[in-house]
C-alpha cells in the first residue's frame, strides 16, 4: 500500500520487521561496506597509531537548505572535526532519530547525500542506529555521527599551540552556511543564489600538512563563526590575535543579508571553512597549496598571533582603528529598527 509506505511510522522504530526493512531498504543499499553489512552489534576494524575520536549531533532547521542537507552536514561536520586535529578520518557511526510521519522519500534523499559526502571524504559508515519517536518529540530528523581518524606521527595540532609570530590563515569566504540556512527559515525566506559551504575538508587539510609540518592550530569556524573560533584559539593558546577586517573574504550576498538583518558575518556559521595558525615562515607556502584546492580557492592570510593582549582578539577595522572581537553570546537575532 503506497500510502502506508511513504511515511515513517512508529512501527519503523519497534525493532521488528519494519525496523529491519527500514535499515535494509533505506540505509544499507547506499552505505554498504563490509563492516556495516555484517549487521553485528558492533563494527570491528583494525587500526594502529594515534587515533582521534569525536562525536556531534545535528539538528539543523530546515533539514534541506541550498547547498546541502542534514545528511551531508552530519558527515562533513564530523569529518572536519577529525581533520581539525590533523587526523585522517577512517570510520563514522551514524544514529538517526526520526519523527513519526517523516517522509520516506525525504529520508532516502538524505541517506543519498550521506553516501555522497562519505564517498567524497573517503570514509565508511560502519555502525548505525535508527529510532523513531512520536510526532512532536523530535523535529523531523536528528542525526548524530561519531568518527575515528588516525594521526600521522609528528603531527601535533591543537588549539593551544598558537605562538607569537604565527600567521592566521582562513580558507575562504565566511558566513555562507549560516546565511544560506537562514534564507530558508520560516518567516524569512528570500530567494538568492547563495549556497551553504558545507564540505569535507579532510583532503584540503591533508594537502596543507603535506607542504608544512609547522601548522600549529586548525579549527573549523562553525556555530559562533570566525569571531568565536579566533577567540577560542586566543584563550586556549594564551596569546593575542590581531586580524585585518579588509583581508577577511565575505561574499556580496552574505554582506547584503547581514546589513539587512543587522548581523555581523564574523559571527555567522560556516560548515566548510578552516582557520589555520602556522609558523610565519610556512604561511605563504600553505596559502598557495590551499588555493589550489577548490575548497581553499579564496584562502587568505587574515592576521597574526602576538604576545600582547593574551586571550583577546583585536581586529583592525576597514576604517583603520581597532576593536575587540569577542565570542558570540546567545543566538544571532536580527535587529528591530
Amino acid at each position: 500500500m503506497e500510502q502506508v509506505d511513504d511515511r515513517i511510522l512508529l512501527a519503523h522504530g519497534s525493532g521488528g520487521k519494519l525496523s529491519h526493512e527500514l535499515v535494509e531498504k533505506k540505509f544499507l543499499p547506499f552505505l554498504a561496506n563490509p563492516a556495516l553489512n555484517k549487521l553485528d552489534d558492533s563494527a570491528i576494524f583494525e587500526a594502529s597509531g594515534r587515533l582521534a575520536f569525536t562525536t556531534d549531533g545535528y539538528v539543523v532547521n530546515p533539514i534541506f537548505f541550498p547547498g546541502g542537507d542534514i545528511g551531508k552536514l552530519s558527515v562533513c561536520g564530523t569529518v572536519n572535526d577529525l581533520a581539525m586535529n590533523g587526523a585522517r578520518p577512517l570510520y563514522l557511526s551514524l544514529s538517526a532519530i526520526i519523527e513519526e510521519g517523516f517522509l520516506l522519500s525525504e529520508l532516502e534523499q538524505i541517506v543519498q547525500s550521506i553516501k555522497k559526502a562519505a564517498e567524497e571524504a573517503e570514509v565508511n559508515i560502519i555502525a548505525g542506529d535508527t529510532k523513531v519517536v512520536n510526532r512532536g518529540q523530535a523535529d523531523k530528523l536528528f542525526i548524530t555521527t561519531s568518527g575515528v581518524g588516525i594521526i600521522s606521527p609528528g603531527v601535533d595540532i591543537s588549539g593551544a599551540n598558537a605562538r607569537a609570530g604565527d600567521k592566521v590563515l582562513l580558507s575562504g569566504t565566511i558566513g555562507d552556511h549560516g546565511i544560506a540556512v537562514m534564507s530558508q527559515r520560516e518567516g524569512l525566506r528570500f530567494s538568492m543564489t547563495l549556497e551553504s559551504d558545507c564540505a569535507p575538508l579532510n583532503k584540503l587539510v591533508a594537502q596543507m600538512l603535506e607542504v608544512s609540518s609547522r601548522i600549529h592550530c586548525l579549527r573549523d569556524p562553525t556555530r559562533g563563526g570566525l569571531a568565536t573560533t579566533l577567540s577560542e584559539l586566543a584563550r586556549q593558546s594564551k596569546v593575542g590575535i590581531v586580524v585585518d577586517e579588509a583581508k577577511i573574504p565575505v561574499k556580496d550576498e552574505v554582506k547584503a543579508t547581514c546589513e539587512l538583518l543587522g548581523l555581523d558575518p564574523l559571527y555567522v556559521a560556516n560548515e566548510g571553512k578552516v582557520v589555520a595558525v602556522a609558523d610565519s615562515a610556512d604561511a605563504d607556502k600553505i596559502l598557495a597549496r590551499m588555493r589550489k584546492n577548490s575548497y581553499g580557492r579564496d584562502a587568505a592570510i587574515i592576521g597574526e598571533v602576538t604576545n600582547e593582549h593574551p586571550g583577546k582578539v583585536v581586529m583592525k577595522t576597514k576604517l583603520g582603528p581597532s576593536r575587540i572581537v569577542d565570542m558570540l553570546s546567545g543566538e544571532l537575532l536580527p535587529r528591530i529598527c
Binding site: 582603528p321 576593536r323 575587540i324 546567545g330 535587529r335 528591530i336 529598527c337
Partner: protein, 367 residues
C-alpha cells in the same frame, strides 16, 4: 559591493576624519540617539577616528532597552495565560523582567515565538484559530507602521484572535524630556536614520530653535556617521544649529506620509513608560478605540507583581546618556551578554552590549 562598500571606504573615512579634526576647535558633546549608531560607531572604531574634542554619548534609541520593566512583566504574564501565543521581535525574549524573562517563560512551557515581521504574527494567528496570538509591539516610529498594518490586515482578513500589546514609543517627545531635564549638556544630536525615514526632519525643528542644539539625521554606515559628525561640528563651530539630513538617500524632509497616515489611523498618541525616564506624556502609541478588539490591553487582564529594578543596574542612566556603560559597576563583572542584568547588555542595539562586544583596545585593561 554597491551601496555598502562605498560607505565603508577607508580613504574617504580618513579624509572626513581629517576634515572633522581641522574644523573642531572647542570641546563638544554629541548624543547618538540610536543604538544602531552606537553599534556602528564602536564596530568600526569611529570614536578613535574623531578628535578628542568630540565626545559621543549613547541615547535612548534602543527599543528593547527603553521598554519599562513593568511592561515587560506584563508581557511575561500574558505569556503564561492559557492558550496564548506570544510573538515578538528577536532580542525582547532575552531581556530580564523583574522576576523572569520571555525566554524563561518559554522554557517553562509558554508558547513564545520570534517573528521577523508583524505579518508573520498575523499568519500565526490565522494558523492557530483556537489560540490568542499577542504581538508585543515595541520600537519607535520605524516599526509602528508595520504594526498598524498588521492590525489592518487582521481586520481585513477577519482574524479575530490577533492582538497587539502596544508599547511603541515616539522619539521627538523623549528628546524634549532629555533636553528639559538638563541632566547632561548636549551640543548636538546624531538623529535617528530609520525613524526619520518615516517622520521626516520637521519634528526635530524645535530642538535647534528652542534649545540651540544641532541636529543631523544620519545613516548607519561608517561614512554616514562621519559625515553627520562633520555637519554637526560645522553647525556648532559656526553657532548656527539647525536640522540637516545627512542620509538623503532614504530620508525626505516630509518623511513617508503614507506610512505615517497608516500609523495615525490605527494608533493615537498617549503616554508611555520609559525605562530610566518614567512616564512621558504624548510619547507612546495606543491602539485607537475603533480597533480595540485587537488591543491586548483591553482584551486581557493580568496583574503581575509590582516591578523590581535590578540592584546596581545603571541601564536607566545609560539610556539617558547620563552614564557611559563602563561607568556601571556591574559592567563585564556581573553583567555580561550571557547573564545580563539589564536590557542594555542584551539587545543588539543596547549601548552596554556594544561596549562589551567592541570595546576599543585602549580599554583592554578593563576587560
Amino acid at each position: 559591493m554597491k551601496f555598502i562598500d562605498e560607505y565603508q571606504d577607508n580613504k574617504l573615512a580618513r579624509g572626513l576624519a581629517y576634515k572633522i579634526a581641522k574644523r573642531s576647535t572647542t570641546t563638544i558633546r554629541l548624543m547618538e540617539f540610536c543604538g544602531g549608531h552606537t553599534h556602528a560607531i564602536l564596530r568600526y572604531g569611529i570614536r578613535q577616528l574623531v578628535p578628542k574634542t568630540v565626545e559621543m554619548r549613547s541615547g535612548p534609541g534602543c527599543p528593547v532597552c527603553v521598554t519599562a520593566t513593568a511592561d515587560l512583566d506584563k508581557a511575561i504574564a500574558l505569556a503564561h495565560l492559557p492558550d496564548v501565543i506570544i510573538t515578538t521581535f528577536g532580542d525582547m525574549i532575552r531581556v530580564p523582567g523583574s522576576y523572569s524573562s520571555l525566554q524563561q517563560a518559554k522554557a517553562e512551557g509558554a508558547d513564545v515565538r520570534i517573528v521577523y515581521s508583524t505579518i508573520d504574527a498575523v499568519e500565526i494567528a490565522r494558523a492557530n484559530p483556537r489560540k490568542s496570538v499577542i504581538f508585543i509591539g515595541i520600537g519607535f516610529e520605524t516599526t509602528a507602521p508595520t504594526i498598524a498594518a498588521s492590525i489592518l490586515k487582521a481586520q481585513q482578513d477577519k482574524i479575530e484572535n490577533f492582538y497587539v500589546l502596544s508599547l511603541n514609543k515616539l522619539t521627538p517627545p523623549v528628546m524634549k524630556v532629555l533636553l528639559d531635564s538638563g541632566e547632561i549638556k548636549l551640543d548636538g544630536i546624531v538623529c535617528p536614520g530609520h525613524v526619520s525615514v518615516i517622520i521626516g526632519s520637521h519634528p526635530y525643528e524645535f530642538i535647534p530653535r528652542d534649545y540651540r542644539v544641532a541636529c543631523v539625521i544620519s545613516g548607519f554606515e561608517p561614512l554616514d556617521i562621519l559625515l553627520c559628525i562633520d555637519k554637526l561640528v560645522e553647525q556648532i563651530e559656526k553657532g548656527e544649529p539647525k536640522v540637516e539630513i545627512a542620509y538623503p538617500r532614504v530620508v525626505r524632509p516630509e518623511g513617508n506620509i503614507k506610512a505615517w497616515q497608516l500609523t495615525e489611523n490605527v494608533f493615537e498618541i498617549g503616554e508611555a513608560n520609559w525605562r530610566g525616564i518614567g512616564i512621558v506624556p504624548q510619547s507612546g502609541l495606543k491602539v485607537r478605540g475603533k480597533y480595540e478588539q485587537f488591543d491586548a490591553d483591553k482584551a486581557f487582564s493580568v496583574s503581575p507583581k509590582p516591578p523590581r529594578e535590578p540592584k546596581g543596574c545603571r541601564c536607566g542612566d545609560v539610556i539617558r546618556g547620563a552614564a557611559m556603560p563602563l561607568e556601571c559597576k556591574l559592567f563585564r563583572k556581573v553583567c555580561t551578554p550571557e547573564s545580563p542584568v539589564g536590557p542594555c547588555m542584551v539587545s543588539s542595539e543596547g549601548a552596554c552590549a556594544a561596549y562589551y562586544q567592541y570595546g576599543p583596545p585602549e580599554n583592554l585593561q578593563d576587560f
